[in-house]
Symmetry: C2
Subunit: 562 residues, 2 copies
């Protein structure tokens, strides 16, 4: 019998269901009421709710509450430092059954090849991963990325069955000033879903950005900002990542009234935070603890996100919807005891049965080897200095009088001034730029990373030029990743051989390596809680105020290289 | 400058807007708050809300409240008895800016040609008409319709830019019993919008219907029925037509909480009701008068319907949305003082500028001429009788002992028993069936109509066979419509030359003719308020309990000809 006939027959009870969840209570996101009775599943679809059903397999969910699987409305899986299949294994058991992935990081390294890999991989996970096509690669013309994606390249993928639209359009100045390249991309996706990224955009600039066709956004960091965006028709995603954390600021906005227009996302969240606090499950229990109505929170976590992206097949536990179900011990704790992804139990056997996907972007770190001398930064004593703000991705643009030695503006641990260098690593000339940064607190050694948004060149911060060179060169040897070096030795490292962004190891191993790296960095005197996360955003020239790329220091307020 | 650049420039205020609405207050359907300030429009799009804007044209809406234009989530324009262009002129000034049209009536007469005409015509109106492709033509195998539409014919139109999906799937028994023809249609539209029609379907039968992929519905006639359908993930449309009126029954369901899942529709509404009470504006003010929160009502009237159909470009007064705006004197009265349809003012000049659409289905009434003798109905004295229930489309299945004369079961005005005849009129053999009906109250003459759902053959009710024959034959002469005949003379008539369903006259003339017809029918003793509307549903064999087609009396409960 064909799938359609099977569903109808099992829905009606003319045949036993493939799977029946028995003993739980469904939290109905329409009326906010409890529905007792069985949930019957045929293949990947729910076919009956609330009646007594016969089933080939009975899953006992006694005393559990059933809610629709959660939807992460916007994230970069690369920021989890693991492959999509590992991400799946890490996060699906927490109840996340759909993820809307902007593979923006791998696209900056590999271009269309990265998008193609994302689209292929997204079809191999237990959870349903959908891809938004990265709109701004590279993020600016002041950096050397591994690839460029123009309107034509993006339009060629628009009809891919796993592509949902154009990902966060970060170049909002380009939109509101009608940059031709931006216009071409917007025109190519007219009528499709175009996601936004416009931190603090307000008033008529925001109106113009919306008039360009942008529908959704995750950059609101205050209730006032979120309220204006929602009132103007944007669906606002509440982000709780590893660096950007907006839950507390936006929780007051999430009411039953606004719940159809809000969703949840993580944007960038690493395995440490996922393991220690959770993923969307963490956002959900925190919002409820902050006083948001459970109905509003669970709508935002599933149904409203589904509606935002036109995914009409999910977001409710109801006949005809995808069997994406989280069985929780309670609404408040949001601890999943069992999870169905499209009817399949998210357990070890199912993860093992997924097969594998060949990695992409091996050997992507093509940087020349550098020496201590390369980290000299010549110039007058009065120098611009990047001021790190703990837990923020914006920086201060400081001016300091620094000590010079033979023309080189020296780092000075006593004043918390470290050398920072960014080395082009895509095999495009090997350019390099240096500067000074305050805020790491280190007194010796160096840390280096190939995760530096969005171009993902090698970024190094250190007190000692030789250690910096060793750290950078070590990343070339291990195909990218993180390294902590001091006194000529590697104290800790994590290889990220997939495009210099993602590990091939299980997430448990990545988590352990991150703990080691954090500890090793602390041993150098680093005072930042997450030094590699902070480092990752020092090279991102679309976030104020002073940043550095392989081309040089960027005054973001003037949007120009210094 | 291209449209996109113009919108952005006008949104930002770099150029004056094409049109500015000044002095009104916007009712924000997200937060339920009032927004003061200008609304700027560029072409067909809103580009700024709430700021002071310069404009080429300023429309003074002082003291008015602005709400998004209304969306009729399900209707058959044919039931308005006027062409789509006249419907537009009749209804858009009341604030209806989008109509989701199932051209089911014309499809039953003309088949794919009717659908093609609907798709073409829908692009020529000021309001935005979208077409749902008629799923059940003919409605059963117990009638002779003018055409058949199979899965292949429907699938061929699925990608038409004005087609939104598969229209109300009335053959719900065929769905839940897996009829192959139904399965083929559902498969052809898998993943697209499939609208439902399943009056009183409940429990696991409803589950099965939903598992087949049906998403929306307008047949709930009680709060309990609507609540179950919504809880099971259906979006429920509150219908207020000319015959089926569900506002009062469903009003208790419409709360702020459920408002994202409810919409409004008219289904079948004639020019008399539109002129006397209104269209969706009538539903809106009635719901508010019944105590529904205005926020919930206005959401249902626009935003929620837009979301139900994935029309992401409308439903809010916000930048980037279609400039579909109703300027009302108050939320409670819902009287539109000005209406914008896609940025165009719905006024006489705009209606005049639309041009014309050539009618289709001329000369569609191909019935043979009948004589008085044809209305004899032979059989025993004990006879089934159709019992009309005023204001309902269901009928009673009565059994009466009737007077016979030379074998003919005679009508008997003293017992309110009238002859009813249905004559095939599509040029497919000219079959005819007769029966008896109670409830019209007439004492002489005859009334006849080519609007008889869904096959639209000629239906005649009368006390006198000669008058009945004259009435039926007169419809052949005027290309279909309505006629009232008595004593050998035509007392009133309305020609409906477009497929025997729609007039070519302005709606004011149609309304006047309907008043005349009602008066003429009353002069025959007819006690029903809307005899032609009641007559129209006596031939519809998918509504219980006893109906009649050109093939004979239908026992709907047994789903068989008697």
């Amino acid at each position: 019998m064909e799938a359609l006939e099977r569903r109808i027959a099992q829905g009606r009870g003319d045949a036993p269901a493939d799977l029946v969840l028995r003993g739980g209570r469904v939290f109905d996101l329409v009326a906010g009421e409890w529905i007792a009775g069985d949930v019957a599943v045929c293949g990947d679809m729910i076919v009956s709710v609330g009646a007594r059903c016969d089933g080939e397999v009975i899953l006992d969910v006694s005393d559990l509450v059933l809610v629709p699987g959660f939807i992460d409305a916007h994230l970069h899986i690369e920021s989890s430092l693991i492959t999509p299949l590992e991400f799946d294994r890490c996060v699906a058991p927490r109840g996340v059954t759909t993820a809307i992935w902007d593979p923006h990081e791998i696209a900056n390294v590999l271009g269309a090849e990265g998008l193609a890999w994302a689209l292929e991989t997204s079809g191999r996970t237990l959870m349903d991963i959908r891809v938004m096509l990265s709109s701004c690669v590279p993020s600016t013309e002041m950096e050397t990325s591994g690839a460029r994606l123009d309107a034509e390249a993006l339009a060629a993928l628009a009809d891919h069955p796993r592509a949902l639209g154009l990902a966060e359009f970060m170049n909002y100045p380009g939109v509101i000033h009608r940059d031709p390249g931006c216009m071409a991309k917007l025109r190519a996706f007219a009528g499709r879903h175009i996601d936004g990224h416009a931190p603090m955009l307000t008033g008529r600039d925001l109106d113009a950005y919306l008039a360009a066709g942008v529908r959704t956004e995750h950059e609101a960091t205050s209730a006032a900002e979120g309220a204006e965006k929602m009132r103007k028709g944007m669906r606002v995603f509440i982000r709780e990542g590893s660096v950007s954390k907006d839950l507390h600021a936006l929780a007051p906005l999430l009411t039953e009234r606004t719940s159809p227009f809000m969703a949840l996302c993580t944007d960038d969240r690493n395995p440490l935070d996922i393991a220690e606090s959770g993923h969307l499950d963490h956002s959900i229990r925190t919002l409820i603890a902050l006083g948001c109505p459970p109905l509003a929170v669970y709508r935002a976590a599933s149904l409203s996100a589904a509606e935002a992206f036109g995914l009409k097949d999910r977001g409710l536990i109801a006949p005809g919807r995808r069997a994406d179900i989280a069985a929780l011990d309670s609404l408040e704790s949001c601890r999943a005891q069992a999870v169905l992804c499209g009817g399949a139990r998210a357990d070890a056997a199912a993860f093992a049965a997924r097969g594998t996907v060949a990695p992409v972007g091996r050997g992507s770190v093509k940087a020349r080897r550098v020496s201590a001398e390369d980290f000299r930064w010549e110039g007058p004593a009065r120098a611009p200095v990047i001021g790190v703000i703990p837990g923020k991705i914006i920086t201060e643009h400081l001016i300091e009088d620094v000590e010079t030695l033979a023309g080189d503006r020296r780092p000075d641990p006593s004043r918390d001034l470290m050398r920072i260098g960014v080395i082009e690593r895509h095999g495009k000339g090997g350019g390099m730029a240096c500067g000074l940064v305050r805020g790491f607190g280190m007194t010796r050694g160096a840390i280096a990373s190939t995760v530096s948004h969005d171009h993902h060149n090698i970024a190094v911060v250190g007190a000692d030029y030789a250690d910096m060179a060793q750290a950078a060169n070590r990343l070339g040897e291990i195909e990218g990743g993180f390294a902590v070096v001091a006194g000529g030795g590697v104290l800790a490292e994590l290889a990220l051989p997939v495009a210099g962004l993602m590990s091939l190891q299980p997430f448990e191993a990545v988590r352990a390596a991150l703990v080691d790296l954090r500890r090793a960095a602390a041993s150098l005197g680093v005072t930042l809680e997450e030094p590699f996360l902070q480092l990752a955003f020092l090279a991102l020239p679309v976030i104020p105020h002073l940043k550095i790329t392989d081309r040089g220091l960027v005054d973001v307020d003037r949007f120009a290289l210094i």
